[in-house]
């Protein structure tokens, strides 16, 4: 789970100030598989959880996860409001978000997936307009930005869990969502796998990053250092394979700076 990092040493020697002593508090928006979601026992697990556990371990503290709407994460509100130290939510690095957040080095390449009902003749987002279909996206995500910039009027859901429920409910015809999340649905949700398929992928060229409160350089440095370590010692790749289901094509270098 999120707090099972073995090292329970009190405090940390790196001089990093945390909102709650002894814990590295992470804001995320549940559920967002495979980056973070509750497993059957109710523990929060996922790729991001593993990564931040590494950071916590390096700090000598435990990770604690707070569930907030993604909107409050991507605009920095959750961090600025002192709810957490790190935002880890499969979040894309964008110029706009950089104004409010201090991003880490990128750790994941973003790809969006267009999902449609099996057997429909939808082949891409273009069919949404021509066939007058309902497009469903998650609130405040780059998917929404992308869809609106392309002139769509999508239906917006507070979190990915409601989005997938809307698919099950037949309230949407086409869904735009990050590929790893979609793949996780298709892998783990029988009714989704039975009815839906990925019909198109959109490579945005963007990347995911973790974020700290703007100006919190101590923590950002530690974060970047821990990530680089993970890239180098193979623990990043190990987690990637565990959660994405296949080995990564390439490992991030940790050189291009996020913020």
């Amino acid at each position: 789970g999120g707090d099972d990092s073995g090292d329970t040493a009190e405090g940390n020697g790196s001089g990093v100030e945390l909102v709650n002593d002894g814990t590295l508090t992470t804001c995320t928006s549940l559920p967002y598989p495979p980056f973070q979601e509750q497993d059957d026992s109710g523990e929060i697990v996922g790729f991001d959880v593993d990564m931040i556990d590494i950071v916590a371990q390096d700090l000598g503290v435990e990770q604690e996860i707070i569930d907030v709407d993604f909107a409050q994460i991507k605009n920095g509100a959750a961090l600025n409001a002192g709810k957490c130290d790190i935002a880890a939510a499969g979040m894309t690095i964008t110029e706009e978000r950089k104004e409010n957040l201090g991003f880490s080095v990128p750790y994941f390449d973003e790809t969006l997936a267009v999902v449609a009902k099996q057997g429909s003749d939808v082949t891409g987002l273009d069919d949404v307009e021509s066939q007058n279909l309902t497009l469903g996206v998650q609130a405040d995500t780059t998917s929404l930005d992308y869809a609106t910039s392309e002139g769509f009027k999508p239906q917006v859901f507070r979190h990915a869990g409601l989005q997938v429920q809307a698919m099950q409910a037949g309230k949407v015809d086409v869904v735009l969502q990050d590929l790893p999340t979609v793949l996780d649905w298709l892998k783990n949700k029988e009714d989704i796998a039975a009815d839906w398929e990925v019909v198109d992928k959109v490579d945005t060229g963007d990347q995911y990053g973790y974020a700290v409160k703007k100006g919190n350089t101590e923590l950002l440095d530690q974060l970047n250092e821990s990530l680089k370590q993970a890239f180098e010692d193979g623990s990043w790749a190990e987690s990637y394979e565990k959660w994405i289901g296949e080995a990564p094509e390439k490992t991030p270098t940790g050189t291009e700076s996020g913020s």
Binding site: A71, N75, N100, T148, Q155, V156, R158, L162, Q163, K171
Partner: protein, 280 residues
């Protein structure tokens, strides 16, 4: 009366202590002093610049207009009114069932009222927005999402409205029915000639009050999921706030809610006061 009246016959007057008037003056003075101290302290301690920047940022407020009116306020009003109309008729039916002679009707009405008054509105909205469509894949709600919103708000308000209607009918004094019956009117005739017209007057204030509550409840329909053009006041303000990281749009949305609810609340109190005065 002047204060310098000579007390010609003053006996051993109980003049002890402070006179009530003096006591009152001193107490008032102390209270004003406390008030001033608090105000001055606040003025120095609070970070007014930060407050103004975060909550009353004119630039941010300007950005919210006119869309917050054309989209947010408009949708809030549409959702609320459509829910209210649905709830009104559903509530009437439930109230009649509640007063029916047929036990199963009474039981169903009672269960309905208890359930929908006891559940948080957001639970109802979630079940209606996601649970029901998942369970009934084939059935499509007409005019979705407006249909779902109207239904959700209607179901919630119907329980309150039903109780209001029933209370209104029961608030008409029994003597009114008795007088009507003793003039040879049948039960039904007495109901519609004498009871219902008086019940309607009685229920107008609580009915208005429930409209206020529904305006507030409509802030929760966002959980059902909307297109941007379907955002109501709260979601509009919240989404703008989260986009800019500044709370001003949320404050603007809040002020617009107050523009709806405060005058209605004032109206309710006016009507109630008028009703109290006009009692037979």
């Amino acid at each position: 009366m002047t204060t310098d009246t000579t007390v010609t016959e003053a006996g051993p007057a109980p003049r002890a202590r402070l006179s009530p008037r003096k006591r009152k003056k001193i107490s008032l003075a102390i209270q004003y002093a406390v008030f001033l101290v608090v105000i001055v302290t606040l003025a120095f301690v609070a970070d007014w610049a930060a407050i103004q920047h975060a909550f009353f940022n004119l630039d941010e407020a300007r950005k919210a207009f006119p869309d917050i009116l054309a989209v947010g306020l408009k949708n809030t009003i549409i959702y609320t009114l459509s829910g209210y109309i649905l709830g009104f008729f559903l509530g009437l039916v439930v109230a009649l069932m509640r007063l029916s002679d047929v036990l199963p009707y009474r039981a169903i009405a009672l269960a309905y009222i208890e359930i929908f008054r006891g559940l948080p509105a957001i639970v109802v909205f979630m079940i209606l927005g996601f649970g029901v469509p998942i369970a009934f894949q084939d059935y499509e709600m007409p005019y979705d999402p407006y249909g779902t919103v109207a239904l959700a708000l209607g179901l919630v308000s119907a329980a309150y409205l039903a109780e209001t209607f029933r209370a209104g009918i029961e608030a008409v004094p029994k003597g009114q029915t008795e007088a009507a019956r003793s003039l040879g009117m049948s039960q039904g005739r007495a109901m519609f000639t004498v009871i219902v017209p008086q019940a309607i007057r009685i229920v107008i204030p609580p009915l208005t009050n429930e409209l206020i509550l529904l305006f507030k409840d409509s802030s929760l329909v966002f959980v059902i999921g909307f297109t941007l053009s379907g955002y109501e006041l709260f979601k509009f303000g919240e989404s703008l706030s989260t986009r800019t990281g500044n709370s001003t749009p949320l404050i603007v949305a809040g002020l617009l809610y107050l523009c709806l609810t405060v005058p209605l609340g004032y109206l309710v109190r006016k009507l109630e006061a008028k009703q109290k005065r006009g009692r037979v």
